[in-house]
């Protein structure tokens, strides 16, 4: 597995799902359906948007070199 620039989407969603899983494991009853699903959607949206912006900026930074 080769290293690469940080993948914002993988990092953000990975942390998000890890936190969700730990919350369900460590503190039973701490999360509810009405909270976890909207938070997941918000997380997907925010991290997806961040990943799109970061990717575009990286491409723009690479274009003058090419």
């Amino acid at each position: 597995m080769s290293s690469h620039p940080i993948d914002v989407l993988s990092l953000g969603t990975g942390v998000m799902f890890t936190v969700f899983a730990l919350a369900y494991l460590i503190i039973p009853g701490s999360m509810s359906l009405a909270l976890s699903i909207p938070l997941m959607l918000v997380g997907l949206g925010v991290f997806g948007l961040a990943a799109a912006i970061v990717t575009q900026r990286r491409r723009q930074a690479q274009q003058p070199q090419n």
Partner: protein, 370 residues
């Protein structure tokens, strides 16, 4: 073929257009999200036959569509977070669209750079007199290293799920263990290898985990139940079913008033009223009806609280019993125990003042009779 969007995107992404057509069709059924995406891309994506097909930068197109999907997902998520509920159909369509975008956007990485057309005639040094030479084929994109991280993470999630099954039979623990493995793999994939496609498994797994956790949170009390209230146990909660309220053990103090409370979901509440007590029914219905002695059909005011006085069937009241019944849907049936139909007690309906509406189980504290 309608606008050729699926064909064009399939050629661009090197994906069978049939797959895209199926995805659009499914998303069309799931709330119509795909229709807007299709129309937007029909308008944005350049036509193959047009001479200026390179006006729209493909990377910008992808980023723009992704950003739109991401913003919509975030807004819908915020809307669900701050509202009582949401459209499951819209939610399903949105998630499907988002997952498709994530998966497909991963395939475009490394392809856009190879699609910049070379300048015509470059191979001949710009000489004139010859027709422009055919553009040389673009150099092939460097092959991407095959990453096994996602596969490793998926196998780890399966193994973690199985291990959790052995250690704990709790379904929440089992699902959370799998989600933990997927999340950790995604974090690793942010730095080494690629594992974005695990989102396809992580998203529905979290939804399943949330649903199972929610079911466990519900303290479901359902069935056909007989409740014998006493002064010490004066409130009862029922999710669904039939509830027979038996006052045979009721030992209220004569001359004083007392209260009992019932909070029911979808239920039929059958009340055998105490003979020597005036019964004040305070009913709060979502949808349902109040029947007294199978003959009196009292329709509660919609979305309001009714206060109904049922005098003691014996004609002599030892006291007044206040009974608060909150019912989402169903019926409240009261049997007064009157000896004959002709002597059924009168029913007096008065609106319950909003300020005295009881929302909590009654306190066992005694209060003086009016």
């Amino acid at each position: 073929m309608f606008g050729g969007v699926c064909g064009g995107l399939g050629r661009y992404w090197n994906v069978d257009p049939v797959v895209l057509r199926v995805v659009f069709g499914v998303s069309l059924l799931l709330g119509g999200f795909g229709l807007f995406a299709y129309l937007a891309m029909w308008w944005i994506v350049p036509d193959d036959s047009a001479p200026d097909t390179a006006k729209v930068n493909p990377s910008w197109l992808m980023v723009g569509l992704g950003a739109i999907a991401a913003v919509i997902a975030g807004l819908i998520g915020l809307g669900l977070l701050f509202s009582d509920g949401g459209s499951g159909i819209l939610l399903g369509g949105l998630i499907a669209g988002l997952v498709v975008w994530i998966v497909l956007s991963q395939r475009t990485t490394g392809q856009t750079a190879a699609q910049v057309p070379p300048e015509p005639g470059y191979a001949y040094g710009g000489t004139t007199g010859y027709p422009p030479a055919a553009a040389p084929p673009p150099p092939p994109a460097p092959p991407r290293d095959r990453s096994y991280l996602g596969l490793i993470g998926l196998c780890a999630a399966i193994a973690a799920t199985g291990f959790a099954m052995l250690v704990s039979g709790d379904p929440v623990t089992v699902l959370a263990a799998g989600l933990l493995a997927l999340g950790a793999t995604l974090v690793v994939g942010a730095f080494r290898g690629r594992a974005r496609w695990l989102l396809v498994f992580a998203v529905p797994l979290l939804m399943l985990l949330a649903a199972v956790g929610q079911v466990q949170r519900l303290d479901i009390n359902a069935g056909d139940v007989t409740w014998t209230p006493t002064s010490a146990e004066n409130s009862y909660s029922l999710t669904a079913g039939a509830l027979d309220v038996d006052f045979s053990q009721w030992q209220g103090q004569p001359g004083l008033s007392d209260s009992v409370s019932i909070d029911a979901g979808l239920a039929e509440v059958r009340i055998a009223a105490p003979r020597n007590w005036d019964l004040v029914l305070v009913t709060d219905f979502g949808a349902g009806e109040l029947q007294i002695d199978d003959k009196t059909d009292v329709r509660p005011s919609p979305n309001g609280t009714n206060r109904t006085l049922v005098p003691a069937s014996s004609g002599r009241a030892d006291g007044t019993l206040r009974m608060n019944v909150s019912l989402r849907a169903g019926a409240v049936i009261v049997q007064t125990g009157a000896p004959a139909a002709g002597t059924a007690p009168a029913v007096i309906e008065t609106p319950e003042p909003a300020t005295t509406k009881d929302t909590k189980p009654a306190s066992p504290k005694k209060e003086k009779a009016a």
